[in-house]
Amino acid sequence: MTNLVLGLIGFALVLVSAVLIIGLAAWRRKSPPVFRDIPTFARMRHAVGRVVEDGTRLHVSLGHGALSTPQSASGLAGLVLLGRLAELTSAGDQPPIATSGDSGIAILSQDVLQAASKVSAQGAYDPTLGRLTGLTPFSYAAGAITTIRDENISANMFVGNFGAESGLMIEAAERENSFTMAGSDNLTAQAVMYGTAQEPLIGEELFAAGAYTDAGRLHSSSLTAQDILRWGIIAVMLIGSILKVLGVL
């Protein structure tokens, strides 16, 4: 296949996704869309409620996916969750802390926390709540561990691009007896998180956080669009396999 054909297929996929997301968001359904039950998000809400009641703090770790790389998507998903969690904890005594291993994501986390502080009862915005803790994966983990240990944190959310070093951070959080929820786009990190975190997010569940925390209609519609596209891809793969077996392809 030529580059032009591949480009057209890719562009068509993006266009179909865009139309699906907008179309589903505009469609005024009688009842809200029903998604499969992910108990992790229910437990996350419970942990957030406890943070507000206890007067403790929430920590969101955003990983080290640089903004100019494809790994930034998981960091952006983490920022969406951070914004939503900052809103949910706005009635509490202490605003959340965000740590990251990329300076771009760190600046954006400060922006998200600043926006959330305008509607919260926690007083003036503190720019040190959005932190860059290190620029290499392990220095980032080492810096985040001191935050997990010293800042009166009772719930930790690890959402972003991580590697195996996430095990050290989650283990530190476990030692503090705090709630741990973890999701990453990296396969190694997912395996580590499955073994170490109380509530691991597998695969694309990390990108569903917005829809499960009522972040907006476009989040719900994009999740439905993802499901439709997934079935489309499964159908194409099955048809392709059958055609291959029959010798057509």
Binding site: L4, G7, G10, L67, S68, I107, A115, T133, T146, Q198
Partner: protein, 219 residues
């Protein structure tokens, strides 16, 4: 709405419009290889890389700010923060001096080769112990068939990879079970997960392009 609020709203709208326009241009340039589009995409990426370079400075300033605050508050980890600031300043000065006096270069490189790298390697070693402990704890915390499959698979892969003392390689394990697990089951599962992650990434990118998620200026 006062003048300041109106200005903030207009500037936010402009920010969103500029971000969406640049995003769409970069996206189209990625799929279609025309000289103008590709040039524009590369220019935008170059700008992003330059901005990311400046962001590192802002990030380091933020790091200094966080740790200075910890020292002022006499936090539990204030001594570590003091050490961090001293080492940061020394390394920065070494890097600056090495630029003009090449004789200082080995000292600057030594800071990475003999401090940073060994420390990171030792953290990796700690990670191996941490993961073993976490694997044992997993069965206590979440005892279900998935956890059992996870642990049994991990053990089979480990024993299929290493040479066991007195026994050497277990023939069936290293020659059949390990390749079957890693190249068939794990590879097919990983592809399924990666397809899901790919679709999630696509949806995330489109939400940013639509301006539904704005990590660049609040709501």
């Amino acid at each position: 709405m006062n003048l300041k609020g109106l200005f903030a709203t207009i500037s936010r709208s402009w920010l969103t419009a500029i971000a969406i326009a640049f995003g769409v241009l970069a996206l189209i340039g990625y799929f279609f290889t025309s000289t103008i589009l590709t040039g524009l995409r590369l220019l935008l990426l170059d700008l992003a890389v330059i901005l990311a370079g400046f962001a590192v400075f802002v990030g380091v300033a933020n790091l200094l700010n966080v740790h200075s605050k910890k020292i002022k508050r006499h936090d539990k980890s204030a001594s570590y923060s003091t050490l961090l600031i001293i080492v940061l300043i020394v390394t920065f000065l070494l890097g600056l001096v090495a630029r003009f006096f090449p004789a200082v270069n080995p000292l600057f490189n030594g800071a990475f080769n003999y401090i940073q790298l060994p420390v990171e390697a030792s953290l990796m070693a700690i990670l191996a112990v941490t993961l073993t402990y976490a694997a044992v704890r997993l069965l206590r915390r979440r005892f279900n068939w998935l956890s059992v499959v996870f642990l049994v698979t991990a053990l089979l892969i480990i024993f299929g990879t290493v040479s066991l003392p007195f026994l050497g390689e277990v023939p069936g394990l290293s020659g059949l079970v390990r390749p079957l697990l890693s190249q068939v089951f794990a590879a097919s599962g990983a592809r399924g997960i990666l397809l899901g992650v790919g679709l999630g990434t696509l949806a995330m990118g489109l939400r940013v392009l639509f301006g539904a998620d704005r990590p660049y200026g609040g709501k």
